[in-house]
């Protein structure tokens, strides 16, 4: 088991945002966190890597409680792709190299460069490596952000809306890439998504949040129209195509 969350709660300004959330992610597993806007999906990710401190409960990554580790130690175990990507003036190579920050004290070593080199190749970013990232498209920038998280050599990847602001082709490409990376590197991964159909297509497991609590956890094939209706409050029909559920609002 890579990630084990035990009954965490989080309050913002005294108002409960997350309550009684427990979940587990195993090696090579990609979990999608789903639910309406403002339900606490991003908050859950930030609680997992300690950017936000849960008021109770424990977050275990391979038997270590994240909440008791230093920020740098957490960054050596958990890679985080934020929903907000700022395109600075760095080149793609430099931007990805920054993912080595938790491992570098002052001087970049040869091994750091080799790891970045490898990540750039597995993301097919070779031709863009020396280009400043502020001249990149949304999809390319997203790949750089994923690359930065990968070179942290994490055990767990957290991705907040990795496909928002991407067109269909890029969405599919990024999700395929994420799934490939998760399998190949045998890491655990948790991502938040809005598009249910793509979530069902690529995730191994879907976790639905409602009012800050886990409403249902299911493999894509087991998801019913009732779950969607209860979580999102609209009636839907579920059709199956090639074994994957398609959500059709009524």
């Amino acid at each position: 088991m890579i990630l084990h969350i035990d009954d965490i709660a989080f309050r913002y300004n005294g108002k409960p945002v997350l309550d009684n959330v427990s979940m587990a992610v195993s090696k090579g597993e990609l979990v999608a966190v789903l639910g309406p806007n403002g339900v606490g999906k991003s908050t859950l990710l930030r609680c997992i890597n300690g950017i936000l401190r849960p008021s109770s409960g424990a977050v275990m990554v391979e038997d270590e409680n994240v909440l008791q580790l230093s920020a740098m130690a957490v960054a050596r175990r958990i890679g985080y792709v934020s929903q907000y990507q700022t395109a600075g003036k760095l080149t793609a190579f430099d931007a990805i190299l920054m993912g080595r920050r938790p491992h570098i004290r002052l001087q970049v070593r040869r091994r750091d460069l080799e790891i970045v080199d490898g990540a750039i190749k597995s993301l097919h970013l070779e031709d863009l490596a020396m280009r400043p990232i502020d001249r990149m498209s949304g999809g390319e920038l997203q790949k750089v952000a994923i690359g930065r998280a990968l070179v942290q050599e994490p055990r767990l990847l957290l991705m907040d809306e990795p496909t928002s602001s991407l067109d269909l082709k890029n969405q599919i490409e990024i999700l395929k890439l994420i799934r490939h990376v998760v399998r190949e590197h045998a890491v655990g991964a948790v991502m938040t998504l809005h598009d249910l159909t793509t979530a069902f297509r690529y995730a191994d497991k879907c976790l639905f949040l409602k009012n800050g609590r886990i409403h249902a956890v299911a493999a894509p094939r087991e998801i019913t129209g009732d779950i969607i209706r209860e979580v999102y409050g609209i009636p839907v029909e579920i059709h199956h195509h090639n074994g994957f559920p398609l959500v059709i609002p009524q």
């Binding site: 950017i51 600075g88 003036k89 920050r101």
Partner: protein, 354 residues
């Protein structure tokens, strides 16, 4: 550029070496500018004599006196102030993620000017000398007052940044407001000042590196060097913050702490320089932008390069200020504003097109 297997990090190494080479070339230019700066002025000194005097190998006593008592302190003050103002500007721009970050835009310079005016008016530190020229009679009081008020401004901005939900832009806006407030305060003092006080206040605001003596230089140099080391040590953190607060946090960087100490240190350097030398605008704002164009935004190279280019720019500007209306000596701040404003506009226009 296309990379084949295994050549990517070799190409990257070459790319970083090119940046290092540029920085070293800058250092060489700086050395030449220092020699030329010492040689130039109302009395021209041959460069060979300058070198002889610096090495202590038998220059004429007249040249020795000019070099060691007048030119060298002034040249070194320009180097230190240029380096300090420009690296502080670069750090502020990085940690606030805003191209407008600079001691000038954050109200720190205006606060120093108010402090100096306050010292002249209320603490009575400005007088007329027997020769009839206006001077700051008590430079220590004036400097301390300027320093206190600029640190007060810096602390206010940092306090604003600690407020819940404050964004980097909040600090810039707070700085602009603060600058206006201190300018109003200075105007109020000036309105009630007598002729001598008014002249002393205005005289103080002309940033001039000729003001620094050896003792001032020791303080300026010590603070600037220590702060620069601190900035270089944090270059990775500034890169991370530049990528966004959340991304930086995900990389294990304590964004709040990095921003707080970065702002405090940059403000301290600025406050020290401004309170000793007066207001020297535009170096802190423009120089980091120019360097970013030349060498990219990676703070590991950007920061040392801004140190070098800032030093060169202010030194050249000061040498020009000494020569352009010779035998009249212009304060360097007039030149930096005249050069800096068009350069900044050019950068904005080119940036729009790019």
């Amino acid at each position: 550029m296309h990379f084949h297997d295994g050549t990517l990090n070799r190409d990257y190494t070459r790319y970083t070496q090119r940046k290092l080479l540029l920085i070293h070339a800058g250092l060489a230019v700086l050395v030449l500018a220092v020699l030329y700066g010492i040689a130039s002025g109302a009395a021209r000194i041959p460069v060979a004599e300058v070198i002889r005097s610096l090495m202590g190998t038998g220059a004429s006593p007249r040249f020795d006196l000019i070099v060691w008592q007048i030119r060298l302190p002034q040249v070194l003050a320009a180097v230190v102030a240029g380096a300090g103002l420009s690296v502080s500007g670069a750090v502020m721009q990085s940690i606030l993620r805003n191209p407008l970050g600079s001691p000038f835009t954050l109200g720190i310079s205006h606060a120093a000017a108010f402090g100096a005016a306050f010292a002249v008016m209320i603490l009575g530190s400005g007088t007329m000398t027997s020769a009839g020229s206006i001077a700051i009679a008590n430079p220590i009081v004036t400097t301390m007052a300027a320093f206190s008020f600029s640190m007060l401004a810096a602390l206010f901005i940092v306090a604003v940044s600690r407020m819940r939900g404050a964004k980097p832009e909040t600090m810039i806006l707070a700085g602009v407001a603060l600058g206006a407030l201190f300018t109003a305060g200075t105007m109020l003092l000036q309105f009630f000042a007598d002729d001598v006080q008014l002249a002393a206040m205005v005289f103080w605001t002309f940033g001039d590196v000729a003001r620094a003596g050896w003792q001032d230089l020791a303080i300026l140099g010590g603070v600037t060097a220590a702060a620069t080391l601190y900035f270089l040590f944090n270059a990775w953190n500034y890169n991370a913050v530049d990528a966004g607060d959340e991304t930086a946090q995900g990389l294990g960087v304590n964004v709040g702490r990095v921003r707080l100490w970065g702002m405090l240190t940059a403000s301290l350097v600025t406050a020290v320089i401004v309170s000793f030398l007066g207001i020297i605008g535009f170096v802190g704002l423009v120089c980091p932008h120019v360097v970013r164009r030349l060498i990219g935004g990676d703070n590991r190279f950007l920061l040392p390069a801004t140190v070098v280019l800032g030093a060169i720019l202010l030194l050249v500007a000061d040498t020009v200020a000494r020569l352009v209306l010779a035998p009249h000596l212009l304060p360097v701040s007039i030149i930096t504003a005249f050069l800096g404003a068009p350069v900044f506009m050019l950068l904005i226009v080119k940036g729009q097109r790019g």
